[in-house]
Symmetry: C2
C-alpha cells in the first residue's frame, strides 16, 4: 500500500469547474439591493499641494449620493511598519504621483459616478517632481515627504562575517551594476470591492484580497470599529502575486461612502487604473561586488542597492530587507555586506511581488556568478555545485538549512535541459543564435515576521461524512484550496472531493496572515493538518467505542475506518472491500478480544487479515447525528517555532524551511531584429514533498511566464511620471505564444516541519528565470546585458558595441 492516499496525487483543482465555466463570483460580480457605484478621482499631477477641493458641483449632480475626501478619515495613515505609515487612503495635503487618489464618489450608476468625478474641482499648487531615484537622493532634490531627508523612505544595512577580510582573501573579484525595472503583478482581475455598512455599526465588505485579515485590521482602525464588526468576506480572487495583500483607496472609500449613504457601495478599478496608478515591483540598482577563490569558491559579496520605491513606503522596508537577506542563499558565502536605500520618487508605489525583492538580488548574483565562472573558465553547473548550500548549513546571517536538495536540482536540471550537449554544440549559424543558461533559487517556506504569525484552521464534519474546511488562508489563484483540501483529506482518510473549502469570512473563519511569503502550504497547511487531526481524534473516540477498540488503534483510510491491526484493501471506486472474506458476515459487535480469540482458535493462533470497521460516512452519522451525536469541530493552529529575526541587522532564521531549485533556459536570438525567443526551459525544484505535483508544475509555469516577462518584455513607459502604455497590450504582459515548453523535475525531500514534508513551490522558481535567460543570452551572443528588460533594442545595441565579435 502507498504511504499516502491523497498526498502526492495529481488532483485537478477543486475550484476548476466554476472558474472554467465562468460561474465563479469575483467581487465585481456581486451586487446588493440599493447598491451604489463608486469611482475614484485621481490627480493628473505628479507632485502638488492640495489647496482646496470643491465637490459641490458633483454633489448637486442628480444621482450622486456622496463624495468623500481624505480628511473624512481623519488623519488615518497606514503602512507595513508602525514607523513608516506615510500613506492615507485618499490624499490629505499633497499628491505625490500621477493617479494618486484624491476623492471618491458614490452614485446610482457608473456613468453618473464618472460624470461626478469630472465635476470635482481640486485646486493644486504644483510642486517640482522627481522621478529618478538617484536624482531624488541628490542634494537639492524636491522633497516628497517632509520627514524623509534626501527622499530616503527606508534603509537596510547588513554585515555578516567580515566582508573586507573576505575580499582580501579572494583570488578574483568582480564588480557589476545591475538594473531592474518595475513590473506589474499581472493579475487579470483588477481590484474590486463591495462594502455595506449598517446602522448597528457593522461593516460587511467583499474584497479581492490575498490577505483579507490585513483589510480587517485596517478598516477597523480607519473607521474605529471593533474587529468583530468588520466582516471581510472573500469572493474568488483573480490572481494576486503580492499585489493584493494591502488595503487600497477603493476599500476605504467604499466603506466610508457606504457609511455616509447608508447603502452598499461597489468600486471596481479598471485595468487602466491598475496600470497607471497601481502597485508594482521595486526597480533596483544593484552594485554587486563578489570575491572568489581561484577554484570558484565564493568568499565575499557586498551589495549596494538603490531601490525606487515610488511615492509611499508601503511594504518597501521588507522588500529591501529580504533582498539583502537573500544575498546569502542559495550558495555558501561566509562574508556579506549589504547597504540599501529605498527612495521616494513621484511615481506609483512599489511593493512586494512574487519573491519580494529576492528576484532582483538573485538576477544580479546569479548572472555575476556566470561572469565569474567565465572569468575563471569554470562551467556554470560546476561553479554552482561547488558553492551550493547543503543540508545542515547555517548561512552567515543564520538561516538554518534543514532539508535541501539544491545540488541534486542542479544536476537534474542540467540533465533534463541537455546542458552538456547544448553548452558544447555550435550556437547556430546565420542570424539565429542559440544559447543555454542556468541559475538557482531558494526561498522561505513562510517567513517569520513580527506581528501576527500563526495560521488557524477548522474542520467541521457533516453527518454524511462530508467535510467543511475553514481556513483563513487565501486561494488567490495559486491552487491553495486544492492543496489544503488534500491535506485534510489525507488526514481524515477521505477523498479530496469530500472536502469543501471555505473562503475567508472574518466573522467565521480562523485568522490567518494571508497568502504571502510562501506560507500557505507550509503554515496554513500545518494548521489544516492539525485541525483535521483534531477532528479525527474525536471521530476515533466514537469509532473506538463502537468497535470496542482504543482510539489510537483506529485507522482512517479510503473512506473506511477500521481497527488498525486488521486492515483489508478497500476499493474506493466500488465502495466495497476487495475480495471480502467469508468472515465478512461476522457481526460487527463482537468485542475485539473475543473476535481475536475466535480467529486464533480457527486459524491455529494466526490472526487472519480481516477488517473490523465501518465506512467514514457511517462513523460520521454515528458521531454527529445519532443519539448523543454532536458537531465534530476540529481546530488547529500553526506557526513556525522560531524567533523573529533581528530587523535591524538582518540576522536570524527567517523561516523553518527553505525551498531550493535550479532552472535552465535555452534561448534563440535573432541577431538582425534583436528578438529573443525562449526555446525551452527546465526546472528542478526541491519543494519537499509535492502535495500535488500538477499544482506545483502549474506554479513553475506561472513563475516562468512572469520571469520571462521581466527578463524580456515588460516595461512601463513613463514620461514625467505619466504612463504612456496603460494597457496590457502596450505594456506587453507575456501571453501564451511567448511561453516555452517547461520540463519539470521534482526533487522531493522530506522537510521536517512542512506538512507531509512539503515546502514552498509557488514563488521560488520565478527567482531563477531571469538570470537563467540572461545567462543564456550571454551564451548565445557573448554579451552581458545587465539592465532589464532585455529588449531587442538593447540586444542590437550590445551587438553593435561588441562589433559583431563573439567574446
Amino acid at each position: 500500500m502507498e504511504e499516502y492516499s491523497v498526498i502526492g496525487q495529481r488532483i485537478p483543482r477543486v475550484d476548476g469547474p466554476i472558474k472554467a465555466s465562468g460561474e465563479a463570483k469575483y467581487a465585481a460580480d456581486l451586487s446588493l439591493p440599493g447598491m451604489l457605484h463608486g469611482a475614484i478621482l485621481r490627480t493628473p499631477l505628479p507632485h502638488a499641494r492640495i489647496l482646496q477641493i470643491d465637490a459641490s458641483r458633483a454633489e448637486r449632480l442628480p444621482g450622486v449620493r456622496a463624495v468623500v475626501v481624505g480628511p473624512d478619515l481623519g488623519n488615518f495613515k497606514y503602512g507595513f511598519l508602525p514607523t513608516t505609515r506615510d500613506e492615507s487612503p485618499l490624499a490629505l495635503d499633497k499628491v505625490r504621483f500621477i493617479g494618486e487618489e484624491v476623492a471618491a464618489v458614490a452614485a446610482i450608476d457608473e456613468d453618473t459616478a464618472q460624470e461626478a468625478l469630472e465635476r470635482i474641482r481640486v485646486d493644486y499648487e504644483e510642486l517640482p517632481a522627481v522621478f529618478d531615484p538617484l536624482e531624488a537622493m541628490a542634494e537639492g532634490a524636491p522633497r516628497i515627504h517632509d520627514h524623509a531627508e534626501r527622499n530616503v523612505s527606508a534603509r537596510a544595512s547588513m554585515n555578516f562575517g567580515d566582508v573586507e577580510k573576505g575580499f582580501r582573501e579572494s583570488d578574483h573579484i568582480r564588480e557589476d551594476r545591475f538594473v531592474t525595472q518595475p513590473v506589474l503583478h499581472g493579475f487579470l482581475e483588477p481590484h474590486a470591492v463591495l462594502a455595506s455598512y449598517d446602522s448597528s455599526g457593522k461593516l460587511t465588505i467583499w474584497a479581492s484580497k490575498q490577505s483579507p485579515y490585513f483589510l480587517y485590521r485596517n478598516l477597523s482602525t480607519a473607521l474605529g470599529l471593533p474587529l468583530s464588526r468588520v466582516r471581510v468576506i472573500q469572493p474568488c480572487i483573480g490572481g494576486g502575486f503580492g499585489g493584493k495583500n494591502e488595503s487600497f483607496a477603493l476599500d476605504f472609500a467604499a466603506a466610508l461612502l457606504s457609511k455616509k449613504t447608508g447603502r452598499p457601495v461597489k468600486i471596481v478599478y479598471s485595468q487602466e487604473e491598475v496600470l497607471t496608478a497601481g502597485r508594482r515591483r521595486h526597480a533596483m540598482i544593484l552594485e554587486l561586488k563578489t570575491g572568489v577563490k581561484r577554484d570558484g569558491t565564493l568568499v565575499a559579496s557586498s551589495c549596494r542597492n538603490i531601490a525606487d520605491g515610488g511615492a509611499y513606503t508601503s511594504v518597501g522596508p521588507l522588500t529591501i530587507y529580504l533582498c539583502g537577506v537573500f544575498l546569502t542563499l542559495p550558495y555558501r558565502l561566509p562574508h556579506v555586506k549589504y547597504e540599501a536605500f529605498r527612495v521616494y520618487t513621484n511615481k506609483p508605489v512599489c511593493v512586494a511581488q512574487r519573491g519580494n525583492g529576492i528576484p532582483q538580488m538573485r538576477f544580479a548574483a546569479d548572472c555575476q556568478l556566470d561572469m565569474i565562472a567565465q572569468d575563471l573558465g569554470i562551467d556554470p553547473v560546476e561553479i554552482r555545485l561547488k558553492n551550493a548550500i547543503r543540508s545542515g548549513d547555517r548561512t552567515a546571517n543564520d538561516l538554518a538549512i534543514t532539508s535541501c536538495g539544491l545540488s541534486k536540482c542542479i544536476e537534474k536540471v542540467a540533465e533534463a535541459a541537455g546542458w552538456e550537449e547544448k553548452r558544447r554544440q555550435p550556437r547556430g549559424t546565420g542570424k539565429l543564435l542559440r544559447g543555454i543558461g542556468l541559475a538557482c533559487n531558494s526561498l522561505v517556506s513562510g517567513a517569520r515576521l513580527r506581528g501576527h504569525n500563526s495560521s488557524g484552521a477548522m474542520v467541521k464534519i457533516h453527518e454524511d461524512g462530508g467535510v467543511s474546511l475553514l481556513t483563513g488562508a487565501t486561494d488567490s489563484g495559486q491552487g491553495a484550496e486544492t492543496v489544503l483540501a488534500q491535506i485534510a483529506a489525507e488526514e481524515l482518510g477521505v477523498g479530496v472531493e469530500d472536502i469543501q473549502v471555505s473562503r475567508v469570512d472574518s466573522e467565521l473563519t480562523p485568522v490567518d496572515p494571508g497568502s504571502y511569503g510562501s506560507r500557505v502550504t507550509s503554515i496554513a497547511g500545518n494548521a489544516v493538518k492539525a485541525a483535521a487531526g483534531d477532528a479525527r481524534r474525536q471521530l476515533a473516540e466514537a469509532a473506538a467505542e463502537r468497535l470496542d477498540a482504543l482510539p489510537e488503534q483506529i485507522e482512517f483510510r479510503n473512506r473506511r475506518v477500521y481497527v488498525k491491526e486488521s486492515p483489508r484493501p478497500f476499493d474506493l471506486a466500488q465502495d466495497r472491500l476487495i475480495s471480502p472474506p467469508a468472515a465478512e458476515a461476522e457481526p460487527k459487535s463482537i468485542p475485539m478480544g473475543e473476535l481475536k480469540e475466535r480467529r486464533e482458535a480457527q486459524t491455529g493462533g494466526k490472526l487472519q487479515a480481516t477488517e473490523r470497521g465501518m465506512s467514514f460516512k457511517q462513523l460520521a452519522q454515528l458521531a454527529c447525528y445519532a443519539g448523543s451525536g454532536k458537531t465534530i469541530l476540529g481546530r488547529g493552529s500553526y506557526a513556525h517555532d522560531i524567533e523573529v529575526p533581528n530587523w535591524e541587522t538582518g540576522e536570524g532564521n527567517l523561516s523553518a524551511a527553505y525551498s531550493f531549485g535550479a532552472q535552465a533556459a535555452e534561448v534563440e536570438v535573432d541577431t538582425e531584429t534583436g528578438q529573443v525567443r525562449v526555446v525551452s526551459t527546465a526546472v528542478a525544484h526541491d519543494c519537499g514533498r509535492a502535495i500535488n505535483p500538477m499544482a506545483v508544475e502549474g506554479q513553475f509555469e506561472g513563475s516562468i511566464s512572469a520571469g520571462l516577462g521581466q527578463a524580456l518584455l515588460e516595461e512601463f513607459t513613463l514620461e514625467e511620471g505619466s504612463t504612456l502604455n496603460p494597457s496590457l497590450m502596450g505594456y506587453h504582459l507575456p501571453s501564451a505564444p511567448d511561453m516555452p515548453p517547461v520540463k519539470t523535475v521534482l526533487v522531493e525531500t522530506h522537510d521536517p516541519v512542512g506538512p507531509y514534508g512539503a515546502k514552498e513551490a509557488g514563488e521560488g522558481t520565478q527567482i531563477s528565470t531571469v538570470p537563467a535567460i540572461v545567462n543564456a543570452i550571454n551564451h548565445a551572443l557573448g554579451v552581458w546585458i545587465k539592465e532589464l528588460p532585455i529588449t531587442p533594442e538593447k540586444i542590437l545595441k550590445a551587438l553593435e558595441e561588441r562589433g559583431g565579435q563573439r567574446t
Copy 2:
C-alpha cells in the same frame, strides 16, 4: 457584587437597529448577478389526478428559462417521519388541495414568470373531495392517499395509569366537546428563497427558515448532493412560529431551476399564497372526559382527538403526540387515556405552530377545569392550586418535574390581576359585561426527539477582544441572538455589545436542530455557554502564564481579567479601576508568591485587596496576536442527557426541564354586538432564570396576541376548499388596537440544567391565553362557548340560547 453582570439584564435586542432602520436583509431582498425570478403554478382543484402537464407554450415565451414539474425530482418525498413521507415538493400524480404546487418556472423577471404560469396547461381528472375530518373518516369517503384507509394519516394512543379505575373512583365526571380552528402562523415575512447551483455541484441557498439544517438535509436528499455541498445561508427571518421549520415547494423548485438554468433563481411567495396554500395550526375536535374528587382533585381524564391534518402528513404525528402528552401537565393527574386520529382532508396542510398541539389540549382541559370548579363551587384559583404539579413530581407518563414555580405563578397572577376583587365584583350592568378568567400552562424546554438532537456552538476571539459567536440556532424574530450573546458575554466577562452573533451558514456554523420546541435558550444556550467556557479556558491559560497564576485562579468580569483572589471593583464605563490603590504602580511582572510576600511584609501578614490583571482586550491581543498567538476557538455541544421517549406509548421524559405559568384575562363583552374586548391580562411565568426579562416580556406579549387571535378573531373562510379571505385584513390577524395591557410577573426558579437556570419563555404563555379568555367570557356571560374562535355571532347565539339568563 451581583452574581451576574449580563444575565438578567434588560438588554435591547442586538438585531434591533438594523430591523428598525429597514437595513436588515431578508431573503426577498437578496439578488445575484444573472438572477432569474421563479414562480409556482398552483392547482385550482381540491382533488384531482394529473393526466398531463404541457409546458411547451410557457417554455416558448421569450424570457422563460426553465419549467420544472414534480417528476423532475424523481420520486422524492419528504416528511417528519421516514414512515410518513407522503409529500412531494411539486405534485407527482395527484393534487390534494387548492393551491397545491404543480409546476415552477424561472424567467428573467416576475411578470414573465407569472405569464408563463398562465401558459402551462394541466389536464386533470377531477376527483371527489372531502373537507371535513369526520366525513373523511366515514365509510365511503373519497380516499385522498392510497395508503390511508379512512384517510387516517397518523394515530396516537396513550394509556397512563388506569383511566377506568380513575373514573370509578371519581365523585364527579364531565364530558365536553371542544373544537379548535386552524390558524395562521402569522409571520409577516412570507416564504422566500434564493438558490444558486454551480457546475462544481454545489448549491448555495439563502432561505427564510427557522431550522436551516432541515432544509440542508432535504435538499441533499432531493438533489443527491453531499451535505457539504449544500450551503444554506440564513438571512434575517421575519417570524416563524413553527411555520418555517419545514422545506417547501419553493425551496426545491428554486434549487432545481437553478440547477437546470445554471443561474441563480429567487422565489418569493405572496402573503396571498401563504394564506391560501400555506401551512397552519391543526384544527381539532377534542372530546374530553374528566373525573374529579369532590374537593376538586383531578383523578382521571380521557380524550379523543380528531385532528384535521389537511392534505399531507408533515409533522402531524408529532402534533397529535404532544397534544396527548400534555394532557398530564401542568396538573397532577394519575390516570390518563388519549386516542387521536389525524385525518387527511382536501385542504392545506396543518403542522406545528407555537405550542404544537398543546394549546388545543390545554384550551379544552383548562376550560373544562373551570366548568368542573363551577360544578363543584370551587374557585378557579383554588382548584388550580390544589392540582398544580410540583417540583419532584413525576407525571403519569413519566415527565420528571425538577424546577417548578407553578403554584407561585397561580398565586402571583391572581394577585397581579386583582382576582379576588374582580371575581367578586358585579360583572357590569347594561350591555357591557366584564369577566375575569384564569388558566395555566406548561411546556418543554427543548424536547428530546429522535434524530439529531444536540446543538453546537463556536466562539472565536478577535485580537481586539471582540467575540464572534457561531451558532447553528436561529433567531427567527424571537430575540435568540440577544439571549445567546448575553450567555457568551457573561461567560467571558465582557459586554453583550462585544459579541457578534452569526446567522446560520451550514458550511461554517455548527449544526443545530433549529428553533422549535423551545430549545434555543436551554439547549443552544448551553452549547454557547460551553463554547464560551472553552474559549475562556484557553484565554485563562495565556493570562495565567502572564500573571504567574494558575488558569483556574483567573477571573473574567467587566472586561477585566484578573487573579481571582484579588479582585477590585472596576468601572466599566470609565474603563478603569475604581479608586486605584497606591499599589497600582506595582510592576505586573512580579510573581504572585513574591508579591504576596512583599504585601505580607508591608501589612503584617494581611493581604490587601488589589488586582493583578489586565483588560480583556490586552489578553486577547496577547493570546491571539502577539508572538505565538493563535486563533482562540471555543467549541461547545449540548443535548439533554435523557432518553428519547417511547414514540408508541407516549411515555418517557420529553425534556430535562419544564416551564410553568399562569395567566389571567379580563374581558368586556358587548352583549348587543357580541364583541369581546380583552381589557387586560396578567402573566406569571416560571422561565427559570430570565436571561433577559425584556425579551421574556416581549415573548409573553407576542404569545398573548397570538392566543387572542385564536380565541376571538382568526378564521379561514373556506368554501369547497377554496379560501375566501386570502388577506391579513380579511383573515383578521390581531393588530395593535386588539392588544390589552399585559402585567408580567417573573417567577424565577433556578433550573438545574438550563444555562444560568433558564427555561422556556417563548411558547408556553400562548397555551393559557385561549382558556383564560374563554373562562373570562364565561365569567362575564355565564355561557360556555367551546368552539373557537368565539366570534360575535357565537356570543349572540349563545346569549340567545340562554334566553338572556345568567347561569
